[in-house]
């Protein structure tokens, strides 16, 4: 029998092995596209001419693997639309409590999609940086965007950024994409029903909390990590990190279910033995 002090480590090491195995030996698990991914894709595809998209990032760099791939895929769908002139551009902001840690996530997403070489800064995209205050900042952005965000992340005055010409309040954006691994209550309170469509890139554990807003049309679409992101990547036309992580997730979940079954079997056997 394995010593008790090593049992936890063995469970974790097997967990790591099971999670990494599909990266080395892909299993070829079929992956069909569901309506949720199609709705999200079509919501972006159907943007009117000249739209400006606001991508608000609440997650921080620690959520790169969970929240990064979905927004990377979103940006990859948006870039050709901007280059083709269908939409005007993307603006990145963060009002997160962990704002300084959200900026590296935005920068990493921008690097992964090569935004700086594909789009012109100031005309087609802008990084407005961290706006401290979370919900109070969101409230101010809703009423007076230019007062809430007077400069971008690099210190350039907002009046010198052509992409934000005509943007006075949040309702002047045509689409808001919120990247968050926490609940969206504050965003719904301040930005919900103001005019722009809202799409949510959320963690799977937050989906249940977001469902009431989805059902009422306050949030118009959602994207969750890995499975849904891999479907979305298929629609956008590339195979990214979401697809790479998808098979790993399947094996991990099978392993967790087996652990739960094993734990219950051992528990009831021990109980019977004591009787």
């Amino acid at each position: 029998m394995i010593k008790r002090e090593y049992q936890d480590s063995i469970v974790y090491i097997l967990f790591i092995f099971v999670a990494i195995l599909p990266v080395v030996y892909p299993l070829g698990i079929p992956n069909s596209v569901t309506p949720a991914a199609t709705d999200y894709y079509n919501a972006i595809k159907g943007l009117p001419q000249g739209s400006v998209v606001l991508i608000e990032v609440y997650s921080d760099i620690r959520a790169w693997f969970t929240m990064g791939p979905s927004t990377v895929a979103t940006i990859k769908q948006l870039i050709p639309m901007i280059q083709g002139g269908q939409i005007k551009g993307i603006v990145f902001t963060t009002t997160s409590d962990a704002g300084p840690l959200s900026i590296p996530l935005i920068e990493r997403m921008a690097t992964a999609t090569d935004v700086s070489s594909k789009l012109k800064y100031g005309d087609q995209w802008a990084l407005m940086g961290w706006i401290p205050g979370f919900e109070t900042a969101q409230a101010q952005m809703a009423q007076d965007f230019r007062a809430a965000v007077p400069r971008d992340y690099y210190g350039t005055a907002i009046d010198q950024l052509p992409i934000l010409n005509g943007i006075k309040k949040i309702s002047d954006f045509q689409l808001i994409i919120i990247n968050s691994d926490s609940n969206l209550d504050a965003y719904v309170r301040q930005w919900g029903g103001k005019g722009p469509k809202i799409l949510a890139n959320i963690d799977i554990s937050v989906l249940a909390l977001t469902k009431p807003y989805l059902d009422r049309g306050i949030i118009n679409g959602y994207m969750t990590p890995v499975k849904l992101t891999s479907e979305y990547e298929k629609l956008v036309g590339f195979s990214g990190f979401g697809s790479a992580l998808n098979e790993g997730q399947s094996t991990v979940q099978v392993y967790i279910v087996l652990l739960i079954i094993a734990a219950n079997v051992i528990y009831f056997r021990e109980r019977q033995r004591k009787k």
């Binding site: 704002g99 300084p100 409230a139 919900g192 997730q249």
Partner: protein
């Protein structure tokens, strides 16, 4: 000459192995180095962001003579720090009260329509999609019974024990809900393990993994020989 991406991948692979060394030896020097580096980096990045925010929103406007609103906010910020001085602590309480009041007011302003009025709308139970109908009925039952669970002003034995039964159903729905949330957290753990694990099994990280494995085997052999002596 290795490219920046290759050097970065080697660095990440080394960090992952040093972090996961905890699984073998618990609190070992490699793990301690990474633990302290992570906390230090977290604090450094946070401090950089805070200093930049103060610079752009307070110092910048003050240096060009725009006293309002930078000066009042600077004063409020200083009052917050008086919390560390027992005789002046009362000044920080006013700032906290102001922030709490503003935060609550801002939140309440937007809560009525999306979080109260719109949530009272019931989805149809008789649509063509039977699964949607079942789902909507379940949502209605879960909402009502969960609310009843938290009504403590009515005894559970009231109305012939019906309240107890409904509260119990609500409790089961809450258990299911919390189970879903917990499963989500486990899911996130799995994604992160897969994500960081890719650095160990892809080029050039697998060289780091190989070196780490050799070091580990060498250490195990050495420590066993050392114990025998």
């Amino acid at each position: 000459m290795a490219s920046y991406v290759e050097v970065e991948s080697i660095f990440y692979a080394a960090i992952v192995l040093m972090t996961w060394s905890w699984l073998y030896k618990g609190d070992n020097p490699f793990y301690k180095i990474i633990e302290h580096a992570t906390i230090g980096l977290f604090l450094a990045v946070s401090a950089q962001g805070v200093i930049q925010a103060i610079q752009t929103r307070i110092v910048g406007p003050l240096t060009v003579g725009a006293l309002f609103p930078a000066l009042p906010f600077l004063m409020l910020g200083i009052f917050t720090l008086t919390r560390m001085v027992p005789k002046l602590r009362f000044m920080s309480i006013w700032v906290i009260a102001l922030m709490s009041g503003v935060g609550t007011g801002v939140a309440v302003k937007g809560v009525v329509i999306p979080m109260i009025i719109k949530q009272t709308i019931i989805n149809p139970w008789t649509s063509p999609n039977i699964f949607s109908n079942i789902n909507n009925v379940l949502v209605w039952v879960a909402t009502i019974t969960t609310l009843i669970y938290f009504v403590y002003s009515i005894k559970r034995e009231a109305f012939g024990g019906v309240v107890r039964v409904l509260a119990e159903i609500g409790r089961i729905f809450m258990m299911l809900g919390f189970g879903v949330v917990l499963a989500g957290f486990l899911f996130v753990a799995g994604i992160n393990v897969t994500g960081v694990g890719t650095y160990l099994v892809q080029y050039p990280g697998y060289y780091v993994t190989a070196i780490g494995t050799v070091i580990l085997i060498g250490y195990i052999i050495w420590s066993r020989n050392h114990q025998k002596k």
